[in-house]
Symmetry: C2
Subunit: 418 residues, 2 copies
């Protein structure tokens, strides 16, 4: 089964928006065992959109169009699909009424052109999930299929995860209900993880259900997807539950979260469950740890605040860290303790080290110390992080969060990908 992605929108071609939607969809298709050989960006031009759809249908079994489903005259994905199918658009009155109600309920002024979103090509159906006001489309054409989803990321994601992946798998000849779950891990290399799970995967391969797949995702960690098929949703979920337990028994504490939960959200949730507050003192990561934590809605319940230290004056005199070299385990420990005590939190964390490009105190870029100060535990860990300044800082953030996570759950693992 091959599925192409066509991202629609002139703003994508002009570079005003980076097309991260296609990347996310590409990852989901790969994890679901569906090949995606070509992914295309095209502008808001009907002839060119039609050209892209036809080409994709020649080369592949399915195409997902993303974007161009809104209410304005620029939004011509519906018209383009109808042209390819050779059918007219018709307005679905039930959907029109639903859209009108959505606007009323949200207290938004209703413009009549919003009803364009209730148009669909003859023979097509709406996608069940509809988190916004633009419904998605499933449009069969012969034994192939065209899907259309909005460009708003969370709307697109709901439709892909909720309907399109399982519809694609059904078309691959799988008639059962298919469900999947992603376990996110940090702390093992891809080869290490493959080795650990080798026997389990071989055993599963014989039975063929459920299945396991890997995906390396940079600072999002290594993802392990469990996919199960069964006659009913309950049975599929039960298979996943049971396989998740198997994988967790093998991989253990390296798994930090499930599905869309990132490391920041996972750590904030752990602290919240335990009734603990947290504070941070950052040197090498320069505020990036605080910034990632506070990106999570509701972070302020748990994360009291942080200090970014770039000057010795601030470090030694204002914060009372003992004078001396700062790229050391001792300094990291003193910083974590200061974060906890100065900011009045239950838990303090610190990151110090060398972001580069220059070396510092004789150490190369990437040499970083992570420290956590809990009520009854003080610890620093030296790590070597890969990449340039930007990557070192990003890896520093995820690594300190992982160290805190491990200690909160009582694990003595090391924090960093080996």
């Amino acid at each position: 089964m091959r599925c192409e992605i066509v991202a629609v929108g002139t703003e994508l071609l002009l570079g005003q928006i980076i097309d991260s939607n296609s990347s996310w969809m590409g990852e989901q298709l790969a994890l679901a065992g569906i090949d995606s050989h070509y992914q295309t960006k095209v502008g808001d031009n009907q002839a060119r959109i039609v050209n892209c759809i036809r080409l994709a249908l020649q080369r592949s079994d399915a195409v997902i169009l993303c974007g161009g489903l809104g209410p304005t005259q620029d939004d011509i994905t519906r018209e383009s699909i109808a042209e390819v199918l050779g059918v007219p658009l018709r307005r679905d009155q039930a959907m029109a009424g639903h859209i009108r109600k959505l606007f009323e309920r949200r207290g938004r002024r209703f413009a009549e052109n919003n009803l364009r979103q209730a148009d669909l090509p003859e023979g097509a159906a709406f996608i069940e999930q509809m988190p916004g006001t633009a419904p998605g489309l499933i449009c069969p054409i012969g034994d192939k299929v065209i899907y259309a989803v909005p460009g708003v990321p969370h709307e697109m994601r709901d439709m892909i995860s909720g309907s399109i992946l399982s519809d694609l798998q059904r078309r691959m000849g799988v008639t059962a209900v298919i469900r999947s779950r992603v376990l996110r891990s940090w702390g093992e290399s891809e080869s290490g993880l493959a080795e650990m799970l080798h026997e389990r995967i071989e055993a599963l391969d014989e039975a063929g259900n459920p299945t396991l797949a890997f995906q390396a995702s940079g600072i999002e960690g290594l993802k392990i997807r469990i996919t199960a098929k069964a006659a009913t949703e309950e049975a599929a979920e039960a298979l996943i539950e049971s396989e998740e337990a198997n994988v967790r028994a093998i991989v253990g504490d390296a798994i930090f979260a499930v599905d869309e939960t990132n490391m920041e959200a996972a750590v904030l949730e752990l602290l919240r469950e335990r009734g603990l507050t947290m504070a941070a003192l950052e040197s090498v990561t320069g505020g990036l740890l605080a910034a990632r934590l506070t990106e999570v809605t509701g972070a302020a319940d748990v994360f009291l605040g942080g200090i970014t230290v770039c000057s010795d004056e601030l470090m030694f005199h204002e914060l009372g860290i003992p004078e001396g070299p700062i790229v050391t385990a001792e300094c990291a420990k003193a910083m974590a303790t200061a974060a906890r005590d100065k900011l009045g939190a239950d838990v303090g964390v610190a990151v110090t080290g060398v972001a580069g490009p220059q070396e510092k105190e004789g150490h190369p870029p990437g040499l970083v110390f992570l420290a956590v100060a809990l009520t009854d535990h003080l610890e620093a860990q030296q790590v070597r992080l890969p990449g340039d300044r930007r990557r070192i800082r990003q890896f520093g953030v995820i690594s300190i969060l992982n160290l805190l996570r491990l200690r909160l759950i009582g694990s003595d693992r090391e924090a960093v990908m080996r």
Copy 2:
């Protein structure tokens, strides 16, 4: 003139890397007046890369391939171009020697397969700029052309800006030297800027050289590109200099930087020139301001540090901000003053407000107060920032930096896009 972009790499299709290179190239092409109607991602598969190149050459006059120029067996962009051209690859001995020397000079172990990077299709030429170890290619085919650049962003950018854009423009019939410069602005809307520059653009349109183009780039601001052609590089640069002065006379202080310099770097440089240090106290932006500043190499010379405040305890008791509502101009001023005085800097800045999704103190998401405390100037500004939590925080960062920039240069403009 139409130019397509083909990004090569299986990791792009799998979503392991987001293809931001194509977005950047798309923006450059648009600013240079070159249409780009299709942009494609394809994996490391020769038949499919060849298919993409042939298709692009049918639809357009030029194609830029990005990626697949490295030394490994996966890197097959060179072979794919040779197949399309119907010519063999030959090794360029001068380039081979150059690559070998590059490795020796950097003290890196030399693997023989690096010499694959010295291969080029018969009739093709290397691109002059070569910031890494992989040369780029210019491959004419009939009256069309195939370019190939590495996927490493700064190498790709050097080659596009240094050679490919001017080569494309030459092919558009422009035989002169073409140079361009981007002026980055913040604080005017696109329509406002268009109105201000309307007369100047009309005057330039009559003469046809130099030209002005706009590009809205989100939190990177509105870009104004001046493009000039002349018989010599010196003459083209002189035209740009003179037009830059004209644009600056009209647009004024809204211009914050030139070419690749972003707002953070521009503000750090202004402070450095004036011998001033800076500190920040962040509520709504939660460390993002510190994170963006410290992303700039050498930021620590100027930026002493920052505090992210998420708790009232920290705000009122530790930092001594007067108790009361925190989404106010008074609180913002007290925060900026505390940033300056507590962290021992010459300049303090602060951002407080509502990131959402919930309202706070009766104010809606996007209501934000920015404050700067210089030695002799204390000021707060209320702004309404658009978008969701993520965008509000990003706009907050750029807006406070812009406010500081304006006051440093003695301007009394408002900080935010109107």
